[in-house]
Symmetry: C2
């Protein structure tokens, strides 16, 4: 569907670079290092990265969407987008940063890559972890930004505030840019960038109407962006020089040690500081579309409706006498009693309880968890996979138990393990199991044993769901004990 419509709606020369390198620290325990925000489907059952790609792809067309991320996440992102019907047909490029750096080096590398492909390329740099509507206003905003970019502006997108938020950055609007009303949207000069203001300032901004929320979206000619960054000072010159060198090689080479070293030597500086706050060619396109940066766990409050005490309870939560609380607990039972202004976010293996005023400091918890060596900072008990998902039910020395759901028509990789046997009990649906040279049909209430070392594959050939309980027994149970002999999503590392 996205492709069919793309022909009509495409914006000339537009390339999207979706930033998907997030660390998952601000949204813990919902996000983890290995399943950061962009891979969560908390909001409406679709991951944020999928929403981001679906939103921009009709405006760029296939072959013009790039996902910028790190080595840690690229396999999961590629397999995820390849497995979803909405994006499976799209030609998506993956730009893997040599090492994690701040946004200015990352943007410069993407711009250098795009400019080398097409000197006229307009780069739309888009966060992957925001929520925004994708209706007509979204399209009008991007068209207007692209038009201004074509005229040489570095274009930001500003949202008209609806409340005195202190957690967002703001852009002060300057004079309108003459002749630039595209689709009824009038761009302005960006007069100043204001980082998270205090409450009084935020209220003044809201009342005056001359400040917009900074969406983090940047639209600019790729070559133009590099010029502007180069002319912003010595840091900018170094960044652009290294970015051009690395981008001269294909993205597969960016992870080589020479590229890594050069990239790691660049100053850690944001796009805002490196260029937007110093350039006099920065514009802002105002927009009223519904937007949220999902910047803290408080974003899940939008999934419920406050009760009389001002508590928002989402999922299996029961409250007595609390006020101003947010409780999110989709699976387990959470009961609250007499709390004031607290946040409780519950997952299968970890629960966070925080004072509401500390929602922005959840990364401190993640740092403490990492320092104490808790695996819950890194991974969760449930993992989405291109073929379905698994949930770890129990793990002790010598064995572990998982529930594995395989989507209709999907199969896991053809694999073997050196140090564990697996017992599969089918509890729903019908499985096609390759075991060594046999092909077995295993129905609900039947089981099969995969001895250690045996080549095997689990497949759901049917039109309905398949669920298998797997009991793995062995002296080493980590996910890296796997040899993939064949995989529908070209995966090598990771599990399954």
């Amino acid at each position: 569907m996205a492709e069919a419509a793309a022909g009509d709606r495409r914006v000339p020369d537009l390339d999207a670079v979706i930033l998907a390198g997030g660390s998952g620290a601000r949204f813990w325990p919902l996000s983890r290092e290995l399943t950061p925000k962009q891979l969560l489907s908390v909001f409406g059952g679709e991951t944020l990265i999928l929403k981001a790609v679906r939103r921009i792809a009709p405006l760029t067309g296939s072959g013009h969407v790039f996902v910028a991320t790190g080595e840690r996440l690229v396999d999961d992102l590629r397999a995820h987008l390849a497995s979803r019907p909405e994006t499976a047909g799209l030609d998506i490029g993956y730009l893997v940063e040599p090492v994690a750096r701040n946004t200015a080096p990352a943007a410069a590398l993407a711009a250098a890559f795009l400019a080398a492909r097409d000197p006229r390329a307009i780069m739309a740099m888009l966060p992957s972890d925001h929520l925004l509507d994708d209706g007509p206003e979204w399209e009008a905003t991007i068209r207007a930004a692209a038009a201004l970019a074509r005229d040489g502006y570095l274009v930001t997108v500003g949202l008209r505030p609806t409340s005195p938020e202190t957690g967002y950055g703001y852009i002060r609007t300057g004079e309108p840019i003459a002749g630039q009303a595209a689709g009824g949207v009038i761009g302005c000069r960006a007069a100043a960038f204001v980082e998270k203001p205090d409450r009084a300032s935020a209220e003044r901004f809201l009342a005056a109407g001359d400040h917009l929320w900074n969406s983090g979206i940047l639209v600019a000619g790729a070559a133009r962006f590099l010029e502007e960054l180069e002319s912003a000072g010595e840091d900018g010159r170094r960044i652009v020089s290294v970015a051009r060198e690395i981008a001269a090689e294909p993205p597969e080479m960016w992870r080589e040690s020479a590229a890594r070293e050069r990239f790691a030597s660049l100053p850690s500086v944001s796009v805002d500081v490196a260029v937007l706050e110093v350039s006099d060619r920065v514009a802002v396109v105002p927009s009223s579309m519904d937007w949220s940066d999902v910047g803290s766990l408080l974003a899940v409050e939008r999934l419920g409706t406050p009760d009389a005490g001002g508590n928002t309870l989402v999922g299996r939560a029961v409250d007595v006498d609390s006020s101003g609380c947010l409780v999110y607990s989709p699976d387990r039972l959470v009961a609250t009693l007499g709390l004031r202004d607290a946040i409780v976010v519950d997952t299968l293996d970890a629960t966070l309880v925080a004072d509401r005023s500390r929602a922005q400091d959840v990364r401190l918890v993640v740092e403490a968890l990492k320092a104490a060596g808790h695996a819950e900072a890194v991974s969760s008990r449930t993992a989405a996979r291109p073929w379905g998902e698994w949930t770890l039910l129990m793990k002790l020395d010598g064995f572990q138990v998982k529930s594995i759901s395989v989507d209709p028509g999907r199969r896991l990789s053809l694999q073997s393990h050196a140090r564990r046997s697996e017992h599969w009990v089918v509890v729903e649906g019908e499985a096609l199991v390759r075991r060594g040279t046999e092909d077995l049909t295993v129905r609900a209430n039947e089981s099969v044993h995969i001895p250690v070392g045996t080549l095997h594959r689990l497949e759901n050939p049917g039109p309905g769901p398949l669920r298998v309980i797997e009991v793995a027994v062995g002296d080493y149970l980590e996910e890296d004990d796997i040899v993939r002999h064949e995989d529908d999503w070209g995966r090598e590392g990771g599990d399954r």
Copy 2:
């Protein structure tokens, strides 16, 4: 060991009635309706009921310990005490109340039963859900109380306060009772009973030293208690009359409908109100033994040591910037951030987060859970059994997964199910499995299938642990789909 020592330490004519009918509401989510406080082993790995029996049995001897409880719990209590080596050899009686009523009818029924067995019987009524040391002071206290009881007093036990507790009842001490120094303990008249006082009163009590915490322990001649209750007024007379009628029949008959009806018609009144607060023959034995009524979840605070912020973290808890909090989480990870004076108590299937000042109101949460139909109010995911324990790992329509641990030398009942099949995968140890007429040895990393309707039994014949993962598949999975053909603990209802 308890039996060997009992001969030396026995107190003449002493019968213990351990009150074990609690509902589990104040200690949720650690306790549940089906696993109330007395069946928890949170404190020191031993259940509170086991501690209570072990504490008093050396002073009464075998055949003089009675557990008073309701029909709902009696099977579990009996199987639990029969399965523990510390109490397996004791002859313990079970007094099942016809219906749940307040403490005065329950105490009268127990007293009538004991007085009919032996007119000289001294009844020690003991809560089952308290923590107290069982050293020399415990024994001296009970001996002194029994001596006073023999002289016709109704004897309470009062603990010397160590802090201005507002959650306890207090007893004001009157003049010493002449000639009653037994083992260095001097009994006093009980001058007044004071229910939970305000903070100022509690501080005054502590400073003056003339008030003791009411332990809830009552020692009295059984016949004497009935006389005193009879002479306390019309309510007391009715209670004693019905108690004597019911106690004329053996305890197995107390659950018959006639007894139920008569018992249910009695006024719901506590021992304190019905007799202790009106009688002039009430004494109190002061004691300095370490004691706690485990009256609220705050009791688990004693399992840890406060950090610099005054937080007590027990188990897998990580805190950033909180103060005055109690976090108890033995299995799952709980992180707290910037909380003040909160309690977080976590279990496998449910979490409670409460303001510390509301610890006494946890029953309100249980009421709310019941009103909303949440099963977590009634049962938990883990259940101790006389043969070991099980944990429910997952349950959905059509199947469930359990981890089952069987203690060395123990076995489940010989049983069958009409509507579910079971797949057992042994993950640790070696199982002896009866399946129909077969006896199978199933080793770690082997599995066995029990088809629907098949007679079966799981046994751990070895000296080490046995753990089995059970996947049950069927259209009905409740615990009441079981036929017990043979059971080592004489159980009929319940599960396994």
